[in-house]
Symmetry: C2
Subunit: 515 residues, 2 copies
C-alpha cells in the first residue's frame, strides 16, 4: 500500500489547474500569514533592509499521504518521549558522562557544558524547566512490508514551524473543500475524496506549554513586585519570524501574557539580574517603555541553538546570564544537551545497556518502553572494537547506513558506500565525533509539487518527515506539572537534498492525508 499509493499520487495537473492552484496559494499564504521574509538572493539587499517585504513560505501544492497507524503511533508515544527527555535532563550524572565524551570533539557542546558548570557551582535558583519538543519521524518501508515509524531526531530547543504548520494544514483543508460544496481545486483522486488533514493544534499546544511555565513561576521575586512576562530570544534578521509570532500572538491574545522579543545581541543591554536579590529575578526593560521594567518568568529560545549563534564571548555571557537567572528556561542548557544526536544514539544502540529502562519507569508497563524502542533506528558509536566501527568499515554493511556528525553544523552526512572511505580520510581520533545510523527507507516513489518562496514551481520525488509537538513542565526532583502532546509538522524535501531546514530553501512545508 505505502509504495503503491504513490503510483497515482499526486494526480497530474493540467496547465490551467496548476496555474489556478499556484496563484490561489500565492494569495492565500499572504492573506493568512503563511509567510517568510524574502532572502536577499531574491530581492535586493536594499529592499530587504526596509523590513517590509514578505513572500510565501515554501509549501507543497498537495498534502502528502501518511499512514494513519504511523501517525497515531507517533502521537501515542509523544508524552512518554516528553517524560524521557525530562528525566534524562534531570539525571545530571548520567547526562554528564555522555556529554563529557563529546567535549574533546565538539567545542559547542563544551561551551554549553561550561555554562552549566558555572551555574551549577553558583547554584541554580530555578527548579522548574519547560520543554517545547518536536520528535521527527520518517516512514520506513522495506519491500512490501507494512510501513513503520522511525525517529530521525528529537528536538529539545527552538522546535520550529508549529505556527506555520497549522496554516499549511488550513490551506490544504480549504483547497480540498473549495469551492464550498464542490471541491474542484484539485483533480479528482480517491485519496483526496472527502478527506482533509487531521486537526493541527501546534500553536495552542506550544503556547499552552509556555503559559503553564509562566503560571508556575509564581509571584514576582522582586521588591517592589514587578509585572511579569515571557521573553522570546531570537536571532537577528530572522526570516521565519511569522512562525514565532503565531505563538506570541496566542500568548498575548488568548493567555493575556505580555511577550517581548529580544535579539541575542541585546540580551546584556536590556536584561539584568539584581545581584542583591538572592532569587536572581531576570529583569527586562522594554526600550520603548523604560519606566516599566518586567520580570521574566520564562525565556523561550529561538536562538542559541547553533554554534553560529555564539559569535563572541559576549554571546556566551548572555547565555550564562539567562541560565543563572530565576526565569524558567525553555530549554535549560542541560535540556538542550539532552537533544544531542549522541544521546539518541546511546538510547538506540543495540549494543549498549538498556538505558530506556532507567528513564521510562517500570510503573508504566513494559509495553511503553517497547513502543519507544520500536521507533528507534539502530545507531552506533565508532568506538574501537564496537559493532558500529565494524558496520561502518565494511562496504557491504555500510551501504545500509548513514554517518552523521554529532556536532551541529559539523558538516554533511556521509551516505552508504562512501562511509568507509570517508572514515579512512580523517584521523581515527575524530571518529568519536560521528554517529552511525541505520538508514531509514522512506517510500521511494513519493512525489509532490512545491511552490518555492521565489515563486518557482518544482516537482519530483520527495522525502517526508513528520514532527509531533509536545510540551512538558517539570521539577528537577522529577515531579511533572504539565505534559501534553499536540500538533504536528510535515516537512517535504526534494530527494536531492539530504539535509537543510525548511527556511533554508529547498525543503517545504506540507500537510498530511491519513490513509
Amino acid at each position: 500500500m505505502t509504495e503503491s499509493i504513490y503510483s497515482t499520487y499526486p494526480p497530474k495537473l493540467s496547465e490551467t489547474q496548476e496555474q489556478f492552484l499556484v496563484s490561489t496559494i500565492k494569495d492565500w499564504t499572504i492573506q493568512h500569514g503563511l509567510t517568510v521574509r524574502p532572502p536577499a538572493t531574491f530581492v535586493s539587499q536594499d529592499a530587504v533592509s526596509k523590513g517590509v517585504l514578505a513572500t510565501n513560505a515554501p509549501v507543497t501544492l498537495f498534502p502528502s499521504p501518511f499512514p494513519k497507524a504511523c501517525f497515531e503511533e507517533a502521537r501515542a508515544v509523544q508524552k512518554v518521549y516528553n517524560e524521557l527527555y525530562a528525566r534524562i535532563t534531570s539525571d545530571e550524572k548520567w547526562l554528564g558522562e555522555v556529554i563529557e565524551e563529546l567535549i574533546d570533539v565538539d567545542d559547542f557542546v563544551a561551551g554549553l557544558w561550561k555554562v552549566h558548570q558555572a551555574v551549577s557551582k553558583e547554584g541554580y535558583v530555578q527548579d522548574l524547566s519547560v520543554g517545547l519538543f518536536r520528535s521527527d519521524y520518517m516512514v520506513h518501508t522495506l519491500g512490501s512490508e507494512t510501513a513503520s515509524l522511525k525517529q530521525v531526531e528529537f528536538n529539545t530547543i527552538s522546535s520550529s514551524f508549529g505556527g506555520l504548520s497549522c496554516r499549511v494544514a488550513a490551506l490544504h483543508t480549504e483547497l480540498l473543500q473549495s469551492p464550498p460544496g464542490h471541491s474542484l481545486s484539485y483533480p479528482g483522486h480517491p485519496l483526496l475524496d472527502g478527506r482533509v488533514p487531521p486537526e493541527n493544534t501546534a500553536v495552542e499546544t506550544l503556547s499552552a506549554g509556555l503559559a503553564a511555565a509562566h503560571e508556575a513561576y509564581g509571584p514576582s521575586k522582586s521588591s517592589p513586585a514587578l509585572p511579569l512576562g515571557i521573553l522570546f530570544v531570537v536571532q537577528e534578521g530572522e526570516r521565519n519570524i511569522f512562525d514565532q509570532l503565531a505563538l506570541s500572538t496566542r500568548l498575548t491574545q488568548f493567555h493575556k501574557i505580555p511577550v517581548f522579543r529580544l535579539v541575542t545581541s541585546e540580551i546584556l543591554d536590556r536584561t539584568s539580574i539584581a545581584e542583591a536579590n538572592p532569587s536572581r529575578p531576570l529583569i527586562y526593560t522594554p526600550p520603548h517603555a523604560q519606566g516599566t521594567p518586567f520580570e521574566i518568568t520564562t525565556v523561550y529560545l529561538r536562538s542559541f541553538y547553533a554554534p553560529t549563534d555564539y559569535k563572541t564571548d559576549r554571546d556566551w555571557s548572555a547565555r550564562l546570564q539567562l541560565e543563572r537567572s530565576a526565569a524558567i528556561k525553555c530549554p535549560t542548557v542541560l535540556n538542550q544537551l539532552s537533544g544531542c544526536k549522541k544521546i539518541q544514539q546511546v538510547l538506540a544502540d543495540p549494543n549498549k545497556p538498556d538505558y530506556l529502562a532507567r528513564f521510562v519507569p517500570t510503573a508504566e508497563s513494559e509495553g511503553t518502553q517497547e513502543k519507544l524502542r520500536k521507533t528507534f533506528a539502530p545507531q552506533y558509536d565508532l568506538s574501537p572494537s564496537g559493532r558500529g566501527r565494524e558496520l561502518a568499515l565494511n562496504p557491504e554493511t555500510a551501504a545500509r547506513h548513514v554517518l552523521k556528525p554529532q556536532r551541529e553544523g559539523g558538516g554533511n552526512n556521509v551516505y552508504k558506500e562512501a562511509i568507509p572511505e570517508f572514515l579512512k580520510s580523517i584521523p581515527e581520533s575524530d571518529w568519536k565525533g560521528y554517529v552511525l545510523m541505520e538508514l531509514i527507507q522512506p517510500p521511494s516513489e513519493a512525489s509532490n509539487v512545491v511552490l518555492r518562496s521565489d515563486g518557482e514551481v518544482v516537482s519530483g520525488n520527495v522525502v517526508g518527515e513528520l514532527g509531533i509537538f509536545g510540551t512538558i513542565l517539570w521539577k528537577s526532583n522529577g515531579e511533572i506539572l504539565h505534559n501534553e502532546e499536540g500538533g504536528w509538522l510535515m516537512r517535504t524535501k526534494g530527494k536531492e537534498s539530504n539535509e537543510g531546514g525548511v527556511a533554508a530553501g529547498f525543503s517545504s512545508l506540507d500537510s498530511i492525508i491519513l490513509y
Copy 2:
C-alpha cells in the same frame, strides 16, 4: 475641541518608541494580511512578476481622533442614503435627464449610457440590483464652531478598503492594549487612555449584501440546473487584492457560497449567455474545472469603474455581456451612473428644486430629509447666469470653493483663487464638465505618522476622510429586500496631496478614536 485636540495629538515618539511601533506594525501587517502587492517602483519588475511578494498597506501609526457625534450621524443616515441611491437608480427618467447633460463632455458616461440603452432596448431580465456603497465624509470646522459632517463623495461601484479597514482597526486596537494589562506601545495620552476604535464590521456587512443577492437570485435558470456562485470581476495585476479576498473568504467560509475571480480581459472567454434561454443566465466555466460550469447569481465589480478599465471595444462588449445577463449586478450601469459627481451636485445645489423630497419618501419624517441635507456641502453647476458661475468667477467667493471635473480621471481638482483663471483658460463649452463645491474645512492641525508600503515613515499634517459602508438589495419597483449599514473606513492623506487613492501611494489607511 476639534482644533485643540490636535495640539497634543499624536503624542511625540522617542526614537526607540517609533522604532518599536514601526517594527511591530511591519510584522503585524504581514501576519494578518493587512497587505498589498508591492509596486514595481519598490522592487524589480522581475521580482514583482513572480506574484509572491507583499508588503504592508500604508497605515498610520496612531488612530485619528474623530468626533463621536459626527460618527454617529454618519452611521445614522447610511440606510437612508442607501435607499436614496436605490431610488435614483430606479428612476430611469430622472437619472437619464441628468446623465444626458453629461454625455457631450464625458465619453465614459456616454459609453456607460450606451450599454444601458442597448440592454434597455433588448429588455432587462434581472429585476434585482445590489449596492455595496460607501459614503465618504470629512469633518467640517469653522473657527471654534462645533464640528459638522460633510459628504465628499458617495461611491456606488467598487467601494473598496472594507477588508483592510477592519484590520487597521484591529491593529490599532491591539497596539492600544499591548502588552496585555499594561498598554505601553504608545506614549501615554488622555485620548488613548482606555479607548479603542469602534467595532468595524465592514467585511461582515459587505459580504452579507452579496450573500443576500445570491440568495434572492433563486434557483438556477439553466436546464439542467447548474451550481450557483458569485463572480468577482477584477483588474489585471490588482495590488489591492487582499482587500477583496477578505470579502470572498467571508463568502466562502461563512456563507458557504462559491466565489470566482475573473479579470475583465477574460470575461468574454470564460463567461457566456445561453442565447436559446430567454432568462439569459450567465454561465462561468472555471478554467481549472472545465467540466463544472457555474451559473453566476451575482457579479461584483472591482473593475470597470474607471475609463482606464475600458481599453478596447472588447471591454465594452464584456460589460454589455454582464449587464444583459440574468446575474444580479453590483452595481448595474444605472447604479454606477447614480454615483456621478453630477448627481451629488444636483442633490446638493441650493438653487435646484428639492429633489431630495422626490426620493426620500415623506412617510419617513421630514427630519430624515433634513439629516441628509445637513451632510451636503453646497454644490453648483456652471450653467450661464447660475449661482455657480457667479461664485466661481469672483475671486473672493472662489476662494471658498473647489472646482471638480465631473469626469473620472478627468484631471485634477482646481482650488480657490486658481478657479477663475482656470475657467477662463478653457472653452466655455467645457464648463459643464465641472462641478463647483464649497470647500470643506477639516481640522487644520490634524497630524499623524504614516508607515508607507516601502518602509519609509513620514509624518505631518493630514486630512482624514471617513467612509461608512452600507448595502442594499432592491427591486426595480422600489421594493427593498435588504438594507444594512455597517463598517467604516478612515483614510488619512498627507496635507500636500489633494487627491489620490490609498493604494496609489501617499494616503494611508487609518482607524478612529471617538471623542
